[in-house]
Structures are given as C-alpha cells and as structure tokens.
Symmetry: C2
Subunit: 319 residues, 2 copies
C-alpha cells in the first residue's frame, strides 16, 4: 500500500529554543487516493509547506488569537499545492492552490469548507513564491503598515523581525510606497542582506549590548524620530524604540517574538509618558479584519512582485 | 508700602514625597498698584490658585510637554481672579477671569499676551468652582474621554486617579454620556466618595496588595472588559488594566502620576500581546490640540454643571 508522511504535533515545547525532535513526530500513513474522493472533494499534493513564527504561539497552552494546537494532531499550516484529482466542479487536476492543508504530503480537501481558506495562485506567481508574495504574512504586512501604521510616501518606517517573512515584506512594501526604511534584525549577515538584497535604507543589529543598540538606534533614526514602528518582537527592542517616536508616531503591534520562547524577562520600562508630547499611538490588529480588502491588496503586492520591486525572501528546506 | 505674598520655586524636589518647605519659599514683595498700570494692562487679585498633579512634572529637570520651571521664579499656575483696575478697553473692574497669573496675591497682566491664556468665567459658574468646571483639567477630561477614548452611551469606562481633578471629571462626564463608570483611587474614603457623592458605578482601591487589586479589577470590570481606560497613573495599575480590555478597547494616556515622584520601579510586564486579539489601542494626547473646540466643550460641561450633573470636587486651602 502506498504511504505518505505526516508530521504530528506531539509535545508542547518547553521554554527556550524549540527542539523539533521533542515537539514533532514524523509518521508514515496510508496515502489518500483519488478513488477515496467523495462528491465535492479534491485530492491535493502539498509542495511547499509554510513554517511561521506565530506557530510558536499556537503550540503553547494558552489561547492566543486562535485555540491552541491539540497534542497528537497533524501539525497545522498552509501549503502551496497542486490539484491531483477532483470531484468538485470548480477545480480540475493541475490547478495551483494555497490552503490550510496541514503538514502532510497529500490531503483530501472539501473546497467549500471555509476552514481550508482555499485560494488560487495568482497568474505570474510561482508556486514556490506564492506564500511569501500572496500569503497571510504579506497581507499582514500590507494592512498593518498602511491601515494601522498610516505609512505613506516620505515617512520613516522601522520594522523589527525585519529578516522574517512579515518584517521583510513590511520593509519592501514601505520602499514601494516611498518610505525611508530601517530594519532591525539579529546578526550582521541578516542586516547586510536587508540593505544589499532587499533595498532597505539601513539595518540595525539588535544582538549587541543594549547600550550599543540604543546608540545605533539614535544614530540611524535621528532626532526627528520614526513615523511608524512595525513591532514583530516586543521586549527590549520595543522599549528602546518607544523613545524615538516622531510627533504622531505609531507603533503597530503585530507580534511578540521575544515572548514566544518564554525565557526573557517580560518586564520593561514602559515609557508611556513619551506618548503624551508625541500624541503617539500603540495599536494591535488582526489581518482577518481586512478580509474584504484582501483581493485589492493582493493586486498591489503581486504587481510590485511582477515589477521586481518585491523579492521573495525564503528558506526552502526540501524533504 | 503695601506688600503682597509671592510663592517662589526655589529647589527641584527630590525623589519621593514633595517637601513644600524645601521646594517653595514664601516672600513678601511690594504690592502692584493701579497707578503702576500702563495702557493695555489690568491689575487682578488672585482668589483661587490651582495646584495640579502635573506640576510635579514641571518641577523636574527634564522637558515634558513644556519647559521645566526655572529655579527662583514665581511658581506658575492658573488662578480664578477678579479685575481690580483696568487700562484695557475689554476689561473693567469687577470682571471675573481665569488665567496663568502665578502664585501671588496680585498680578499685572497684559490681556492681549497669549501667555496668560486669559478667559472669562462663564455665567452661572462661581469663581470657586470655575477652575474645576471650566479649567484645563475639565477640558483634558472631555477631549481625552470622548475624542481619544471614543466614549459614548453604554460603554464601560475605567479611570485611575479618579479622585483627582481630571479623573473625577472624566468619571462625571462619562456618567453624563451614559457610560458605566469605574474609578480607581487610593484608600476606602476616596472610593466611597466616588460612588456616594459623584455617582460612579463602582470604585476600586489600589492601595492593597497586587493580587487583591487584580482580583477586584477582574470582579468589578467583568469578563467582557472595558471599552475605555483613562490612565492618569501608569505603573502597576496600567499593567493590570492592560489585561482587561474589551474588543477594540482604548487606553487614553493622560498622565503618569506613579512616575512623578521617581521612586517606583518603572518596569512592568507590558502585555502588548493582548493588543493583538483585542485590536486594542494605547494613545497619548495633549489638550492644546483641541483649542479650537474649547468653547463647544465648555458649553457642554457648564450645562451639565448647571443641571447639577457635575459636582465640583475640590480641596480649598485658605491662605
């Protein structure tokens, strides 16, 4: 009997760096076949699974913006896939789609069930690039930066987690809008990549001592301060950035990577006092609130990608 | 020669409770006379000086929303005063006015100089009540609560420093709007006063241990959370309140009383993560941005006061 591989979520990670061999287990299961399909179903082959920082939060015991993963389930995640067989009138073999098909090689999907969030791959976008260019991280970057942050031409935008999927898209969209863009990332290699490959105006390495980091932030951002800080990390970086806000600056709270591993002291000096003279704003958001405008946003992003203004940034791990 | 009393600002306060005998000095000076007036000037007698929590911040070395006070100057502050003599066509003896006339018994004022921020006392408002009812704290409460906080009928409003000039006005205006109002104040007497005299729906004493305070906050605010938290204090109270925000809740940053004395650990666990599912917002503001709408706001507040819906809350210290 033909088999395929599933990755199960078998243990909640301990604080600190995630140990994949503890958290996940690879199992071999009977492979779904075209002959298993009921009416209204399709069989997909999953070619590119996405692995996102937010998953670290799903793995905890607490409800975040979604319920926690359950022990023993197939690891959830979105995939760029191809339709192999179809008993659904709107899908035919060879169609290129993206959806929540989980970490397994093949999935039988009910396209009409909204839990799969099934989408077509836009023309001109490769299956390999589609999750970076047209996935939730790209949409998160777009609406957080523009709608929550109010970014527009000439503004100064700072983004942390800048070498990640969301952060690198934030910086690239901000460049497309005509902003000055400063990325914060860990280590000189990532910082060099942001400037040399993605066209950021500057990058700041946060993996230095705090005094050095603060000095660099002040130098690079300058006295006027930033208009938008897109915060993917929280923690020390947020604390330092709180004090460099320009008049009517905005901090967009997108994630708290620094808290996901549960090892950092979550306390810091919240300088809310600085929000008074600046009339500053800190605001959280969920991209799902903008679902009606996803098609419009994707039109913009895909157009920038086709023009070569947005470069896919990804690490592909075969197997 | 006739004299009058001036209060000089002679030393910046040390961290901790302010010692008036160290910070201020009372001096006797020649009293300004009607015969000293030049054209365009008026002589006022200052009857009610205001003493505000924000002054604690003015006394520090650092620029806040204004420059620091200078050592040796007459202490700045607003006063409800009466015109004694006038060489200005728009003012006549007996006029009741409010302005930045400083801590002294008599002041010669140039009404056309905007630094005095001279205003008439609205009809039907006593000279004793005018600074509470129609002063900057009332305007701060009004615009912070309504414009920044978005308070309206049926919303749940929490305010800290609730027994202070700004906080008590926030709560009373919120009641006039039809909100459910919860005040946070120090000690059972203040809490009782908020409910019994000012009509707050509930009050929470923060001068208890943190666990007890958190428990009370959760009980009183309830599972749904608050829509608006008007923050006058920062610190521990803000930290606890961060976790009780309703969907699309807003925190209005008005002041940081907890930081003024410089003795509390300013670090706390900033749960920015909670801003994501709630789409919450933290925002600072300065009332001076709303100057064009001051007359409109005062019409509302004075009307509520005349109807007995807003009661003056003040401690008058003679002498």
């Amino acid at each position: 009997m033909a088999t395929h591989t599933q990755i199960l979520f078998v243990n909640r990670p301990k604080p600190g760096k995630l140990d994949p061999s503890f958290v996940f287990k690879s199992v071999s299961k009977p492979r779904p076949k075209a002959s298993d399909l009921k009416d209204g179903e399709i069989l997909v082959k999953n070619l590119y699974l996405s692995f996102d920082a937010a998953m670290r939060a799903w793995m905890g015991e607490l409800k975040t913006y979604r319920d926690p993963l359950q022990i023993g389930q197939v690891m959830e995640g979105r995939s760029a896939s191809i339709v192999l067989a179809s008993k659904h009138s709107a899908h035919k073999p060879g169609d290129r789609i993206v959806g929540s098909f989980d970490w397994q090689q093949y999935t039988i999907v009910q396209p009409d069930n909204p839990k799969y969030g099934l989408e077509s791959v836009p023309d001109g976008v490769s299956l390999k690039d589609v999750q970076y260019v047209a996935g939730m991280t790209a949409l998160t970057a777009y609406f957080g930066l523009i709608d929550v942050g109010g970014a527009s031409k000439g503004k100064v935008v700072v983004v942390s987690g800048a070498a990640g999927a969301t952060g690198s898209m934030v910086g690239q969209i901000a460049k497309c809008l005509g902003c000055r863009v400063i990325g914060i990332a860990g280590g000189p290699d990532k910082c060099k990549m942001l400037v040399d490959q993605l066209g950021f105006d500057a990058a700041i390495d946060y993996k230095v001592d705090r005094r050095e980091f603060t000095k660099r932030v002040n130098e690079v951002i300058g006295r006027r301060g930033y208009d938008v800080y897109f915060d993917n990390t929280g923690g020390m970086i947020l604390e330092v950035l709180m004090n460099r806000m320009a008049l009517r600056g905005r901090i967009v709270v997108c994630g708290s990577i620094s808290a996901y591993e549960g090892t950092q002291d979550p306390r810091f000096a919240l300088a809310t006092g600085n929000l008074i003279p600046t009339r500053g704003r800190i605001e959280g958001f969920l991209v799902t609130d903008y679902i009606d405008r996803f098609p419009q946003a994707l039109t913009h992003i895909v157009s920038w990608y086709k023009d070569g203004k947005i470069k896919p940034l990804q690490t592909t791990v075969p197997g």
